[in-house]
């Protein structure tokens, strides 16, 4: 065993340098050169300010905005802080937990209060917390479910809002990977400033 100590130590140091420094720093350098936008978090900027990331959902609660999925993330003290991008996590409630059933019940009630005319069945993704607590997407059904409320609050025609939702639907990749989805932040930004994307590019 003695005779193996030198090779063990040398190999450990060499592999640490190779896989723990050269490799991650090499990937960082190359990624920053080839895909700088993605490597830095696919950030969305408006007027020079960082609005957020297209991959990280945000907490929307006003009637005039589309709402994302419930988020179970907490702050450093363990108090609820939805969409805390610095502390990801899910509720970890069991399917059999009475707390889960109660939470879903409350969320359905909140949606009905916000729009008494939305009486149809609520899509399950709109009333269940995501795994990361940062889910940027909702299903197209969940967006359309909220279209009436959003249109009313903004004084817009409901058809206009529904059309906007439809143009924001992303299909499954390669036709079968993943689910059809709508990016909530992008959809709300488009509502706020229908020409925003264009004027932003031309600037």
């Amino acid at each position: 065993m003695d005779s193996q100590f030198r090779p063990a130590l040398v190999l450990f140091i060499a592999l640490s340098a190779l896989t723990g420094l050269a490799y991650p720093l090499g990937v960082t350098g190359l990624a920053q050169a080839v895909f700088p936008h993605q490597a830095e978090g696919s950030l969305i900027r408006r007027d020079g300010q960082i609005i957020g990331s297209e991959w990280i959902g945000q907490s929307f609660t006003a009637p005039r905005d589309f709402w994302g999925r419930p988020s179970a993330t907490v702050d450093a003290q363990g108090k609820p802080l939805p969409y805390n991008g610095a502390n990801s996590g899910g509720s970890n409630l069991a399917p059999s937990s009475p707390d889960l059933r109660r939470a879903v019940q409350d969320r359905v009630a909140a949606l009905r209060t916000a729009d008494p005319e939305a009486t149809g069945p609520v899509p399950v993704d709109l009333v269940t917390a995501s795994g990361s607590g940062l889910d940027p997407h909702i299903s197209p059904a969940s967006a359309l479910f909220q279209a009436h409320r959003v249109a009313l609050a903004r004084g817009l025609d409901e058809t206009t809002v529904r059309d906007l939702v439809t143009t924001h639907v992303e299909g499954p990749q390669w036709g079968i990977l993943g689910e059809p989805r709508v990016n909530v932040l992008k959809l709300n930004l488009a509502l706020d400033d229908p020409f925003g994307a264009k004027s932003h590019k031309s600037r």
Partner: protein, 568 residues
């Protein structure tokens, strides 16, 4: 959901077709042959041997081999522990993460050197970038390389005749890292970045609206975490975090990476024993069990949670919504992409998650739980899955031999009392750790206090933790508060038993086989490449798993399933 089954089919087709070329490449690497990468990497390899003061043709007996592996692991244990204890004073820590408590540091160090990657901490609130890179990423490579090395030693034990050496542990580690793990990881990491996985050294970002976005060198760690069946997430939510697993395509690539090397090693095995049918038979046995588990899990998650009936919620999938059991799942993956991940990650000893297993339906959660308890042999960990499966193959030929009253043999080597003892230890030690650990936990008030869900599910949380640690998986029913002295220490012991309690008997067995003469095939030899043998092998794996764990599973997920409709 409409796509769930076609996604599953595409997955299996791609996995099995990629296994062949990679398996052939790995056989070449382990046998010291020349590959396309040699012009670039061979000088580096030679330089390493010179620095280490070894010759690449030096042979090691099984004990020297086992000590070498153990020694480099101990160095890793010390390095990760020290990094965590001192990270506040070290560079690459823009968020000024504090030094980590000793109990948690020890648990994490053990977890990463044993390829478990159980995480009682949340990455973005606990670790500096330096700790993630120089501590955890390094162990991701070394523990995966160890799996391949031990497998290579076992195969040499089978193929060499009347010999003593099992190869050279250092050479196997170096070659596995340089010619297999590093190039694959580099390519995968870049692909993941193209899909939106982040890779930077920036401080956390503050948006105009006050949201804080965690940053870091995620892609490089994620790539080897998937390929090396490690599973330790860069972020707390692991691969559910959009910065760790952004698009459905990144999800698919990561899922393929989980089983890619374990499946390909079956092909490698066939090459090395000079009978490809032997490798295909093992691959077939694994695939059969995987498909069954995947079907049950997918069906359970797609169907949804009956406890939410009557609330005005629809869980029915349609063209514009995934439906199903969506608590703890990401919309972009849906129940289908989450069930496939859960099955793959627990069939292998990966343990990463893209959805919270704690919130899976009882039967959907039973699948990952049982797959771990089977000993991580359905594809299994890199190397460890196949050497685990070979232990079961020895038991299968042994049982076959008993039936006809003849000394059993496997690939020309007689399987005798010593081999059976070693195989039994390697199979039963993790099982014992699961059951004993769970039994102690339900008797200790401090351990029960960590449970976060009421009823049978609370028991499942404890059972899951011990199953995961003892089989070096690392996934969790994460509601369980595992960052307590009881679980940090207890699960660390289980992880060590689950890794070294298998590696040592496997290498001892290899050391015994390598000395034996070749026994020519006779009339009474049970051929081990036929569908009949695949059936016997699957039967043995399932039987051991069923006899050992059905009582415990009945108390947890099965009981929960039966009560689900009465939750009000």
């Amino acid at each position: 959901m409409t796509h769930a089954w076609s996604q599953n089919l595409l997955y299996l087709a791609l996995l099995l077709s990629l296994a062949y070329p990679l398996g052939t490449h790995m056989a070449k690497v382990l046998e010291g042959g020349r590959t396309l990468l040699h012009p670039i990497l061979r000088p580096l390899e030679r330089g390493l041997y010179r620095l280490m003061g070894i010759h690449e043709d030096d042979e090691m007996g099984w004990k020297a081999y086992a000590w070498s592996i153990t020694l480099i692991k101990l160095l890793g244990l010390a390095a990760v522990f020290l990094l965590m204890k001192t990270q506040a004073a070290l560079p690459l820590n823009p968020e000024r993460q504090a030094n980590v408590a000793s109990g948690l540091s020890f648990n994490t160090a053990v977890s990463f050197i044993t390829n478990t990657n159980w995480q009682a901490y949340s990455g973005e609130t606990t670790l500096s970038y330096l700790t993630q890179m120089l501590g955890l990423t390094v162990q991701n490579f070394i523990s995966a390389a160890t799996g391949i090395a031990v497998l290579a030693a076992l195969v040499r034990g089978i193929t060499r005749r009347s010999a003593a050496g099992l190869g050279n542990a250092w050479v196997d580690l170096v070659r596995s890292t340089l010619y297999i793990l590093l190039p694959l990881s580099f390519a995968l990491a870049l692909f993941l970045v193209s899909q939106g996985v982040i890779q930077n050294l920036s401080a956390y970002l503050h948006t105009a609206g006050g949201q804080v976005l965690a940053m870091g060198p995620a892609a490089s760690q994620v790539a080897i975490k998937m390929l090396g069946t490690n599973g330790g997430g860069f972020f707390g939510a692991n691969a559910a975090h959009p910065f760790e697993n952004s698009s459905p395509l990144s999800n698919f690539a990561q899922m393929l990476s989980i089983l890619l090397i374990p499946a390909a090693l079956c092909v490698t095995f066939g090459h090395m024993v000079k009978d490809r049918r032997q490798g295909w038979a093992l691959l077939a046995a694994m695939t059969v069990m995987f498909v069954g588990a995947l079907a049950v899990c997918t069906q359970a998650e797609v169907k949804g949670n009956p406890a939410l009936d009557g609330l005005g919620v629809t869980q029915v999938a349609s063209l514009d919504q995934p439906g199903g059991n969506m608590e703890g799942k990401e919309l972009r993956f849906g129940p289908g992409g989450s069930a496939l991940w859960a099955t793959a990650t627990t069939a292998a000893s990966n343990g990463s998650v893209n959805a919270m297993h704690d919130s899976f339906t009882p039967l959907g959660g039973l699948v990952p739980l049982w797959l771990m308890q089977l000993g991580e042999v359905v594809f299994g960990g890199v190397g460890s899955g196949l050497y685990g499966m070979l232990m079961f193959a020895l038991v299968a030929v042994f049982i076959g031999g008993l039936m006809v009253g003849r000394t059993p043999e496997y690939l020309g080597k007689k399987v005798e009392a010593f081999e059976m003892k070693m195989a039994s230890i390697a199979i039963l030690l993790p099982c014992a750790a699961v059951l004993i650990g769970t039994a102690i936990s339900v008797l200790v008030p401090a351990a029960v206090a960590s449970v976060s869900n009421p009823g049978p599910h609370g028991f499942s949380q404890i059972l899951y933790a011990w199953s995961s640690a003892s089989n070096n998986n690392g996934s969790a029913f994460a509601g369980l508060n595992a960052n307590t002295p009881f679980y940090n220490d207890g699960l660390a012991v289980a992880m060590l038993l689950g890794r070294f309690g298998v590696i040592w008997p496997v290498l001892a067995l290899a050391g015994s086989l390598v000395k034996k003469k070749h026994t020519p095939e006779g009339l009474g030899t049970l051929p081990t490449h036929t569908p009949l043998f695949v059936g016997v092998l699957v039967g043995v794996v399932l039987l051991v798993g069923a006899l050992t764990f059905i009582p415990a599973l009945a108390l947890g997920p099965v009981a929960e399933h039966l009560t689900l409709r009465s939750i009000r």
